[in-house]
């Protein structure tokens, strides 16, 4: 069946490949590029573990074809830290014990960081609403919400 030549910019770096139409974006990241920071949880668009940013918006990469991302920008958890330093949302998760087993964390951070760019001064309700498509099976939501709030507060302080 049809093969397609794609060029996807991932975390600022261009990646070219020939892919089958049926290859999912999450498999392209994990298996073709060995970028295993993006996790597969439910495989059914329910859990959000595979969330990446596609042209700046969080999407579930288990329900996007790699070929659909041709010419687009993808940001994954590997693109958050700069020069080995955790970025703000990563620091916030660290400081607030925002992860237990860590499985949902990459997806949670990709959703949370896109959300904070759109809404830098969120209420607790808005945070809970924003992350409601990402499940934490440890049920550690209290600290995840705290972490997002912490990141927002730090942003307001200017860094």
């Amino acid at each position: 069946m049809s093969k397609h030549h794609i060029n996807v910019t991932i975390n600022g770096k261009s990646h070219e490949a020939d892919v089958e139409a049926r290859l999912l974006l999450v498999h392209f990241l994990r298996e073709n590029l060995n970028m295993t920071g993006t996790h597969i949880g439910c495989d059914t668009t329910s859990c959000g573990a595979c969330t990446v940013q596609l042209n700046g918006k969080p999407v579930k990469s288990c329900a996007v074809l790699a070929v659909q991302a041709d010419g687009m920008e993808v940001k994954t958890v590997e693109g958050l830290a700069q020069n080995g330093n955790l970025n703000l949302i990563q620091q916030a998760m660290h400081e607030n014990h925002g992860l237990q087993c860590g499985y949902c964390t990459p997806g949670m951070m990709m959703t949370a960081s896109a959300f904070l760019e759109r809404n830098p001064h969120p209420t607790e309700d808005e945070i809970r609403h924003a992350i409601s498509g990402n499940l934490c099976r440890c049920t550690g939501y209290m600290n995840i919400v705290k972490a997002v709030q912490y990141a927002a507060d730090k942003m307001a302080e200017g860094g």
């Binding site: 139409a21 049926r22 668009t45 969080p58 329900a63 070929v67 659909q68 409601s132 498509g133």
Partner: protein
């Protein structure tokens, strides 16, 4: 799981997309993909050609024109959610997109996909039935308008021909003294409705019902329009007794089946309760509250 193999095209124009759809017998439109791709992964759908509409220009907009609110088929649910026009003037639609799947899925999920999917679990169909919406479909012979009331034929079956593409949904423009509400019970965010009720009302100068639309989600093979409940309320006062009577008629119109989300009796009772509440909220909003 990995979907079975298929061919894929991403045309730039609508006419190319229509032509591509017609070329293969087992072709399917890819809109947001949030229902279709999981279905393909589970091998519950196996199109041999996907025609991706994501690169067709001009199918994403929300605008008032000629007495309608026109929404392009590829408009993401999140765009509707963040539309000031919708949140100010179309409360039923605004309510619906807030509870439709989850915020991440809404970044890709489209209004056209939710409607054309013809799956009774989707939320937009009942809302569009309550509004009395129309959809625009484009095929090889051009464009035609289909009233939403004749769009849903059966489970997963709509009035769209195999080589027709839904391009726009038109909601009647917001009128004075009108309001709506969508109430959904879901087990968790992102789940389909156990049952949900869409209500859209317009009051006359005396506060009686000038028009009423009631749509029901996931209690039948298609989204249902509670016609008897609507007819009962027309011209009547928005009293609690009347709302309760209408809700009983809506519950009778529901055809739920027992599943993991509840028994038939439970879902019918839910339709009754949510119809009263949705109507009450719609009336309150129509009065400007």
């Amino acid at each position: 799981m990995i979907p079975p193999s298929f061919d894929y095209v991403a045309p730039k124009t609508l006419s190319e997309a229509v032509a591509a759809l017609g070329q293969h017998e087992n072709s399917k439109v890819l809109a947001g993909g949030q229902s279709l791709i999981p279905l393909m992964r589970f091998r519950l759908a196996g199109p041999t050609l996907l025609v991706d509409l994501n690169r067709v220009e001009g199918l994403s907009y929300i605008e008032e024109k000629d007495g309608w609110l026109g929404i392009g088929a590829m408009t993401r649910q999140s765009a509707i959610e963040h539309s000031q026009l919708v949140s100010e003037k179309y409360s039923l639609l605004a309510d619906t997109v807030k509870v439709l799947s989850d915020p991440v899925v809404r970044n890709l999920g489209t209004v056209g996909g939710n409607i054309a999917n013809a799956d009774p679990v989707n939320d937009q169909p009942a809302t569009m039935l309550a509004y009395g919406a129309e959809v625009v479909a484009v095929g090889p012979d051009g464009e035609r308008i289909i009233p939403i009331t004749s769009f849903y034929l059966d489970l997963y079956q709509s009035a769209l021909a195999r080589d027709e593409i839904l391009t726009e949904v038109r909601v009647p423009a917001s009128r004075p003294r009108s309001g709506g509400a969508y109430l959904k019970l879901e087990r968790k965010v992102g789940d389909y409705a156990t049952a949900a009720v869409a209500a859209q009302v317009e009051l006359d100068a005396d506060g009686n019902f000038a028009s009423v639309g009631i749509g029901l989600t996931n209690v039948g093979l298609t989204a249902l329009k509670a016609t008897e409940a609507e007819d009962f309320l027309k011209g009547k006062a928005a009293s609690d007794a009347n709302l309760r009577q209408a809700a009983a008629l809506a519950a009778e119109a529901a055809q739920p089946i027992a599943d993991v989300r509840g028994s038939e009796e439970y879902k019918r009772s839910l339709v009754k309760t949510y119809t009263v509440r949705a109507l009450r909220l719609a009336v309150q909003r129509a009065k400007g509250g």
